[in-house]
Symmetry: C2
Subunit: 155 residues, 2 copies
Amino acid sequence: MATKSALVLLAEGAEEMELVISVDVLRRAGVSVTVAGLSGTDPVRCSRNVVVCPDTSLQDAVTKAPFDVIVLPGGLQGAKNLAASSEVGLLLQQQEKEGRLVAAICAAPTALQAHNVGIGKSLTSYPSFREQLQEKYTYKEDSVVVDGWYIFPSD
Amino acid sequence: MATKSALVLLAEGAEEMELVISVDVLRRAGVSVTVAGLSGTDPVRCSRNVVVCPDTSLQDAVTKAPFDVIVLPGGLQGAKNLAASSEVGLLLQQQEKEGRLVAAICAAPTALQAHNVGIGKSLTSYPSFREQLQEKYTYKEDSVVVDGWYIFPSD
């Protein structure tokens, strides 16, 4: 069986636990993980001031698509940066089109909403985004919601 | 009340979850945390290939001692590097002498043993170090063991 692949998006202000736990657990499970810096390969300051170096830039990473899963860590500013990136938008739209997995943690479902993907799916998020997200999604209070190709841990 | 301070030691091969969760949770709790690179300020490759930038070098950090707690993340190679560092030894011996907290996670109690600190205390660790550690410590199977100034989460 070929190794599964994951792309984890690292934006300034990402929640560092949500980033690192995702990467670590996936690598322990034998998944080939690429940590892609949204703004290149420079070190990225996360939400609690832990500074993490991406493995590569998002620009380079997308040339190696597809990935079995794209993981979006939360963090308020991190999610805003993911929402503002047209490159992330194209990547997510392509992932949806191909029926591949997307995982969006905590505040990150707001980035999915910004890029108009997964519309109508059931999801959860950090609680304060409920009102905003329930306009286009079926909001649930569960710790984790899985709907089709989408995985949403609340935090 | 003055802010509490924590020094988190970052060695090549540290377990990145044990590092980042410690830093993040302590910062969320309002503790002033310094992540000190054992070998300077260069980025440090952790056990599952997440690369983290220290805030400062250990050499610079020790000039700002004392810290209310010194945290040693685990990771097999990380713990070996902590065990091999005479600078870490002096720091831990000073911390013990002053009756300040030490937290050693997973494999990190082996570094305490190497530096001859906390001898006779009750502790836990990643299970495979039981035999080695019970020579000088009272080994327990609990998830977390607290004994005096020492905190030992098993992982």
